[in-house]
Symmetry: C2
Subunit: 321 residues, 2 copies
């Protein structure tokens, strides 16, 4: 009885704030600052803005970033950081490294981070998109990487989104670039900033859950681990990645739900462990195509997968405030 | 130790949101819709807007409402509702009516509401401003009274505040008129709507506390009572007001703090009972003069006193969303 009432309350909270369509609103043209602030930011409500918002960017209008040769020329000699995992899932829950005692359970695994020359990184990203590759590379570095590592590309996009800057009365605090392949996947998490996320080439597929549905993701504490590269002493070749627990033990609160368990058995186990996610209303789902922009409000949980362009890459840039 | 930390947290919360000046911001001209939404509504931050916002209203430009003859002519024959109390404090805490057993403590007292012809109401309001009057009259009726009882005055003001309507994307849900004298006082309370409060003649003195300081007002449950008029059977003259407890007993949660206790003894008792109010930072204080407009954000606690114009009246109009 109490349980049913609680579910009714959750349903009403969602319907009152976001309606019953389950769809993310799409805008055909960029909103005015007032409309953006009033109808989306103040309402903490996501929306997707059409290509009309970015058609004047050289990176979009001339598809500059789909062209590896262009990127390598402009970024020639630049060192960029690349995140390496065995499967494309950095910052995600994976089985604990097998211990002599035969440990069970999950840990929160972060990627192995490496700096390399841009053209090497780009090659690695495309090459590791194949399912047979034992490693997946993802060029991503938060903390304003676009204005640091990738500053040579500055003229290809706008330094900020003018209507958002006026609405929020501040310039972006960080601008980040993300270059990945079809295997990279970001597990459910939330950020505390307002986010404008532009896909430049390829596509991104988002699952979104409002902050009011945090309970559906079963945030629990997991011990932290990190992938480290086993380099053979005789060469600089990258070897296999090995998962190591952080010392001293560190606990990270993380969402327990994987929306796409990889086997029928895993799905059955997930369904019974996390019924509030699998039995409740579906998350908001949207695919952001090249040139489109997602407004991802602060504190919304998001899960992201990507489809590469014909060159094997997905590139996105996001502006955070 | 814990107590000091808690106080530090409260102080930081106030300083982060509202600075250290303790002053309500004043705008020399009406804000744009974007600025109003961004800097005040979204920030849940009050402001006072200068007369420039209302100088085009006939009620302000021509001081129409300071003129009793004008008001009586326009509202001739209209019936309006008037709230009567022995002291000017409706919806406030007063001692329990003395009971045979000798009860102690406070109750939440609402006014005696009467309908009367407008000119009679206006006369009563001015007459009962004298400290010797055993009754204080206040013409106030929420629920959109301006557009109902006082619709004949519609042309003297704006039907809505255009920049606020655009900022909030909706017309006012209610427009209310308040006609009182210098004895009327409104105890600390909060409303759940956005409020634009324009003083038309006289002055209003506000004490404001943000929702984050609710704990400083000691909201407790009090039994509800109402003033009723004792009319002598031989005449229609208004007799003394008598306070009667509501039957069946009804409890109303209300702020315990009276910021202006009426005697040194009452002040001493208040100080020791409600230290978080009297020892904490001062509430935001502002006086709104004729023609000025207070933006009072939803959920802010406010206490209001008034100073009448030379005809003994304070008139205000407020727009709620």
């Amino acid at each position: 009885m109490e349980k049913r009432r609680l579910r009714d309350l959750w349903r009403e909270a969602r319907e009152l704030s976001f309606g019953t369509s389950g769809e993310v609103e799409r805008l055909e043209s960029p909103p005015t600052p007032l409309r953006f602030l009033r109808d989306y930011v103040a309402a903490n409500k996501p929306c997707v803005i059409s290509r009309a918002a970015t058609l004047h960017w050289p990176a979009i209008a001339r598809s500059l970033w789909s062209d590896d040769a262009y990127l390598c020329r402009v970024l020639n000699g630049r060192s960029v950081s690349v995140h390496l995992t065995p499967h494309g899932r950095a910052d995600s829950l994976v089985p604990l490294p097998s211990a002599p005692g035969g440990g069970r359970g999950l840990c929160f695994a972060t990627a192995c981070s490496r700096n390399m020359e841009f053209s090497e990184a780009l090659h690695l990203i495309a090459a590791t998109g194949s399912p047979s590759s034992p490693v997946v590379a993802y060029a991503q570095q938060q903390h304003d990487c676009f204005r640091a590592e990738y500053s040579a590309l500055a003229a290809d996009v706008e330094p900020h989104i003018p209507w958002a800057t006026e609405a929020l009365a501040c310039l972006p605090e960080a601008v980040n670039l993300w270059i990945g392949n079809g295997r990279s996947e970001t597990s459910f998490h939330k950020d505390h900033y307002e986010n404008l996320y532009v896909v430049v080439t390829g596509k991104k597929h988002f699952l979104l859950l409002p902050p009011t549905e945090a309970h559906r993701l079963y945030v629990r504490s997991y011990p932290a681990a990190q992938y480290v590269a086993r380099t053979s002493s005789s060469s600089e070749e990258m070897g296999e990645l090995k998962l190591e627990m952080l010392e001293p033990e560190t606990l990270v609160p993380w969402c327990s739900v994987d929306p796409y368990p990889r086997s029928p058995e895993a799905m059955a186990e997930h369904r019974s462990s996390f019924p509030l996610y699998f039995e409740g209303p579906r998350p908001f789902e949207c695919t952001v195509e090249a040139g489109e922009m997602l407004y991802l409000p602060s504190m919304w949980f998001h899960h992201v997968r990507q489809t590469p362009d014909c060159n094997g890459k997905t590139i996105a840039i996001n502006y955070c405030k």
